[in-house]
Symmetry: C2
Subunit: 264 residues, 2 copies
């Protein structure tokens, strides 16, 4: 594995250096030989740059001009409703591509802001276009990623349509841990919650109070441990059970009795 920049976390890497986990891993993997990739990266990443906490990456309604690959830090995308309340559409974690939803419509739905000091690679739309035209495989990979984003949002919808606050919160915490790349040690998941409770609540369609109370209830049961934003999920299976493992292959087979006529 290549050498990273200084120690701002596992995802952080030097300015114009090759970036195996971010861009390479997600966009160019198995597309080109190493030599070609490096050249391509130089062409795509024009302005590797950084944001301070609270700085915005883009505003609502702005025209789509670039994709962003988040290297380090965490972002949130939100819209502000008439009454002034924020509705959080999504969080963004290191290694994720930001702005995919704006490619189609041509402008951004919400405002994206840094929740912590963050570094992004800026991939201009025009550059991306040119590269895609030249290397169809890159475009195909981009299509795959975009499709996967829909799948992620579909699962999110599933989560949100579960009425109970418990479920939403449980699932959200597990999801965040996963996207942070947290690895279990002795069965526990330890991580820093990257956003304020209010944000987490707004994301889930809850209030900060309910969130807080729910967390305390779990803490009493020793399922989790919180100290400020320091989180430990001590019994991940408990939360997973709450989140409602929606596989249910058997139950489904009982309900759906009609045959599928296209997929033999």
């Amino acid at each position: 594995m290549e050498q990273y920049g200084d120690s701002a976390g596992p995802w952080h890497c030097g300015a114009l250096q090759t970036c195996p986990r971010c861009l390479f891993a997600n966009l160019l993997t198995s597309v080109l030989a190493t030599r070609g990739r490096e050249r391509l990266v130089r062409r795509l990443i024009r302005d590797p740059s950084s944001l301070n906490t609270g700085q915005t990456l883009r505003r609502e309604g702005e025209p789509f001009q670039a994709l962003f690959m988040l290297r380090s830090g965490v972002l949130k995308t939100f819209v502000v409703s008439e009454d002034g309340g924020e509705q959080i559409i999504d969080f963004h974690f290191p290694g994720e591509l930001v702005g995919l939803s704006a490619m189609g419509t041509g402008n951004h739905l919400g405002c994206t802001m840094a929740l912590s000091p963050s570094a992004v690679c800026v991939i201009r739309a025009s550059d991306m276009d040119a590269v895609c035209k030249e290397y169809p495989d890159v475009q195909k990979r981009l299509l795959q990623l975009t499709s996967r984003e829909i799948a992620r949002r579909e699962r999110m919808h599933q989560l949100m349509s579960g009425t109970r606050a418990e479920c939403r919160l449980a699932m959200a915490l597990l999801n965040i841990a996963e996207r942070l790349g947290v690895i279990a040690s002795r069965g526990e998941l330890r991580f820093q919650l990257p956003m304020a409770r209010v944000d987490l609540a707004a994301y889930l369609g809850l209030t900060a109070e309910t969130t807080s109370r729910q967390l305390r209830r779990w803490e009493e049961r020793n399922w989790i441990r919180t100290r400020g934003r320091e989180f430990t999920i001590r019994v991940p299976p408990a939360l997973r059970a709450l989140a409602g493992r929606h596989s249910a292959a058997e139950a489904q087979r009982q309900v759906v009795n009609a045959g599928c006529q296209y997929m033999p």
Copy 2:
């Protein structure tokens, strides 16, 4: 405008005939000359086919093998949770592409079922792959559509994170009317609700009872008129107001004071 097949609705068209509103409009528009398009369509649409109410197009977890373009009818995609309850991920309306979310992961998240007699164009993944390789512009268009799907889901998330049942329902009804292609006559929107109340409720994370009660409340105020599945939105602006027009450009500007450093 070209001649359609028999009168199964505005979207319905003959079997292997050119299909200006469905596939052409969405996937091949402004890509190729008319001659080329027709040939391409023949290559892509292998099995135009139909489903009866209750038949499934695909099951949960099945591998991705084809995209579907819905010509007529309405579909729902859902997963069944452990307790046996359906969670509805999405509805699909004529002219829409079904299965985009499975391209990336390689298999389908939920089960897709017809809510009314439906007709679909089947576009095999292998065919699509080949055509995309040959015509990069087609792939680009597909990417755009996929991206737009994310945007749609993001708005959906926004809707779901609004806690109130009122908002969700209002927004959902307007959304359905829009996707059905309903045009206002004398300011009113009349249409057949294509799904059962239970389904609508499951989609929104509500119960059928709350849905029913909410509708009655609106009916008392003369905002809507329902007779079974026959719907009339008599005062669309009223519902739109409830749905919470989340533009709020001014409010946003107050909240977000940090400058945007990438988009001049």
